[in-house]
C-alpha cells in the first residue's frame, strides 16, 4: 500500500515536471516582458512597461497585427469551410480514388514548413502572386484545412448514421438536411476548427516569412527581431499575442456555452 502511494506520488511529480517544462518558457516570457533589464536574466530589474511602449509605438508592429488578423480570420473561414466539405464527402460517399483524395487533404502538415514556404514562394513568384496578403492566406489555407477536416471528421464519426435519413423521412430535402441537421450537429466542431485554424495561422512564421514580402505578419516580425540582438520587445509582443489568442478561445467557448444553455432553459 505504501509502495503504491509512493508510485502514485512519483507519477504526480513527473507529470508536474512535464508541465513545468511546457509552461516555464510561456510564463518566463510574460514575466520578463515587464522587466527593465536590457539583457533578461535574474535577478530581475524593476517593473516597466517600456518594452510594450517600444513595441507598440512602432507602426510596423501595428501593421503586422493588422495583416495577421486579416490573414488568420480569412484562413480560418476558408479552411473551416474546405475542411467541412472534405470531411462530409469522406463521411457520406464512397468513390473511386477516395484514398488519394484523403491523402491529398491530409498530407500538407507532414511537409516541413520551410519546404512548403520555398515551394509556395517559387510558384507564387512565378505567377506574380508573391509578397501579397493573399499569398499568405492561400499558403495558410493549405496548411490549416487538414486540421479543420480532422476535427469535423471526428465529430461526424459520432453521428447516428440514421440521423440524415430521419430528416429526409420527415420531409427535409438534401440541402435542407445539410442546413438543419448536419451543420448544427457539427457546430461545436466547426467552432473549434475555426479557432484552431485561426490560431495556427496567427502563429505560423516559416511559410509566412517566405511568401509575405513586405506584408509581414506578427510572427515574421518576431522572427526578424530574434535574428538581431537580444531584444525584450519579443516578450512584450509575444505576451500580447498569447493573451489575445487565449482570450479569443475562451470567448468562443463562452459564446458557445451560453448559446447551448439558453437553449436548454427556454426552449428557443
Amino acid at each position: 500500500m505504501i509502495r503504491a502511494k509512493i508510485y502514485h506520488g512519483l507519477f504526480y511529480f513527473y507529470v508536474a515536471l512535464v508541465f513545468v517544462f511546457v509552461f516555464l518558457p510561456i510564463l518566463t516570457s510574460f514575466v520578463f516582458s515587464f522587466n527593465s533589464e536590457r539583457f533578461p536574466t535574474i535577478p530581475l530589474g524593476h517593473f516597466t512597461l517600456h518594452w510594450y511602449t517600444l513595441a507598440f509605438t512602432d507602426a510596423d508592429v501595428w501593421d503586422a497585427f493588422k495583416v495577421s488578423l486579416i490573414v488568420s480570420l480569412s484562413v480560418a473561414f476558408i479552411a473551416t469551410f474546405l475542411g467541412f466539405c472534405t470531411a462530409y464527402t469522406d463521411y457520406r460517399y464512397n468513390f473511386f480514388g477516395k484514398s488519394a483524395y484523403l491523402a491529398l487533404s491530409l498530407l500538407p502538415p507532414t511537409i516541413p514548413l520551410v519546404i512548403m514556404g520555398l515551394a509556395m514562394l517559387a510558384l507564387l513568384a512565378r505567377i506574380g502572386m508573391s509578397g501579397k496578403i493573399i499569398s499568405i492566406i492561400v499558403s495558410h489555407v493549405v496548411l490549416c484545412s487538414p486540421f479543420a477536416m480532422a476535427i469535423v471528421r471526428m465529430r461526424l464519426a459520432q453521428i447516428d448514421p440514421n440521423l440524415e435519413s430521419a430528416a429526409w423521412n420527415l420531409g427535409a430535402s438534401q440541402w435542407r438536411t445539410m442546413r438543419e441537421v448536419i451543420v448544427p450537429f457539427c457546430a461545436p466542431a466547426l467552432i473549434s476548427a475555426f479557432c484552431l485554424t485561426a490560431a495556427v495561422s496567427f502563429d505560423e512564421f516559416a511559410v509566412a516569412w517566405f511568401v509575405s514580402g513586405l506584408n509581414k505578419t506578427v510572427p515574421v516580425i518576431i522572427l526578424e527581431i530574434l535574428q538581431g540582438n537580444t531584444d525584450p520587445r519579443i516578450n512584450a509582443i509575444g505576451s500580447v499575442v498569447f493573451v489575445t489568442s487565449i482570450t479569443l478561445i475562451i470567448l468562443a467557448q463562452i459564446i458557445y456555452m451560453r448559446k447551448s444553455t439558453r437553449k436548454t432553459l427556454t426552449g428557443f
Binding site: F11, Y14, V15, I26, P43, N235, G238
Partner: protein, 267 residues
C-alpha cells in the same frame, strides 16, 4: 470537391514545381528554365550536404526517441492514475502551448540557457558552472522538446485512454505484474497511437529550423537551415529545391515504414 482543386493547385502543384525547378539553372542571379542535372550532381557531391543530411536525420531520430520516452510516463499517469476531471484539465493545458508562439518560447529558453542566463546564475550561486548550454546540441534538443513534447503526450494520452480497462484487469487477474502489464498489454494495445506520436515528433524535428538555429547555434547547419541559407543568401533556389526534394523523399520513406510497422499484423 472544392478542396481537391485547392490542394492540387496550391499543394501538389507547388511541390511538383519545386521538383521541376531543381533542374533549372541560375545565371547572373536569375533562374533560367531548363533541364539540367547539374544542381543534383553539385549538391550530392558536397560533403557538407551529406554531413547535414545525416546530422538532421540523427537529430530527428534522437529527438523522437527522447520525446517518446519522456512523454510516455506522463501520458500513462494521466490516462490511468488521475481522475477524469484532472485528465480533462491536463488535456486542456497541454493544448494551450499550441496557441502560443513557438518563437517566443524559444526566445525564453535563450534567457534560461544563456552563459549569463537564469540557469547559470542559479548554479553559480551554489558554486557550480558556468556551463555553456546555448548553441550546443543540448540547447537544440530543449527546443525540439518544446515543440514536440506536448503533442506527443496528447497523442499518447488519447490512444492510452482508448485502451480497454478490462483487458488490463484481465492481465492483472492472470497474474501479470503492474510493470509487466505495461509492456505486455498496454504498449501493444496503444501501439498505433504511440507510433503516430513518434512519427509526428520526427516530422516536426526533421523540418524545424528554429531550434537548431536559435538554440543550437546554426552551425553546422541542418538541412532546413541549409535551405534557408541557400535561398535567402545565395539565390540558389534550384539547389535548395534539391535539398527539399531529398528531405521529402526521406520523410515519406520513414513515415510509410513507421505506419506499416504500426498496422502490421502479428504473425
Amino acid at each position: 470537391m472544392p478542396i481537391v482543386v485547392w490542394q492540387l493547385v496550391f499543394f501538389v502543384f507547388p511541390l511538383l514545381f519545386l521538383l521541376l525547378m531543381s533542374f533549372w539553372l541560375v545565371k547572373n542571379y536569375r533562374m533560367v528554365p531548363g533541364f539540367d542535372s547539374v544542381n543534383w550532381i553539385k549538391m550530392y557531391g558536397k560533403g557538407y550536404f551529406w554531413d547535414g543530411y545525416w546530422r538532421t536525420l540523427g537529430y530527428a531520430g534522437i529527438t523522437t526517441v527522447i520525446t517518446s520516452v519522456l512523454a510516455f510516463p506522463c501520458a500513462f499517469a494521466l490516462a490511468f492514475k488521475v481522475s477524469p476531471t484532472v485528465r480533462r484539465w491536463a488535456m486542456f493545458f497541454l493544448i494551450v502551448p499550441f496557441f502560443t508562439s513557438y518563437l517566443v518560447r524559444i526566445f525564453s529558453w535563450q534567457i534560461f540557457l544563456n552563459d549569463n542566463g537564469i540557469i547559470n546564475v542559479l548554479l553559480s550561486s551554489i558554486g557550480l558552472g558556468p556551463f555553456s548550454m546555448l548553441n550546443t546540441f543540448f540547447g537544440t534538443v530543449v527546443g525540439y522538446l518544446t515543440l514536440c513534447l506536448p503533442l506527443a503526450v496528447v497523442l499518447q494520452l488519447i490512444s492510452l485512454s482508448n485502451v480497454d480497462q478490462r483487458l488490463i484487469e484481465a492481465a492483472h487477474n492472470l497474474g501479470c505484474g503492474s510493470f509487466r502489464t505495461v509492456f505486455a498489454v498496454i504498449i501493444p494495445l496503444a501501439k498505433i497511437g504511440i507510433i503516430v506520436a513518434a512519427v509526428f515528433c520526427f516530422i516536426l524535428s526533421f523540418g524545424d529550423f528554429v531550434s537548431p538555429y536559435y538554440l543550437g547555434g546554426s552551425k553546422p547547419p541542418t538541412l532546413s537551415i541549409l535551405i534557408i541559407d541557400t535561398t535567402k543568401s545565395g539565390q540558389q533556389w534550384p539547389r535548395a529545391a534539391v535539398v527539399a526534394i531529398t528531405m521529402i523523399v526521406t520523410l515519406f520513406a520513414i513515415m510509410f515504414t513507421a505506419i506499416a510497422l504500426a498496422y502490421r499484423r502479428r504473425s
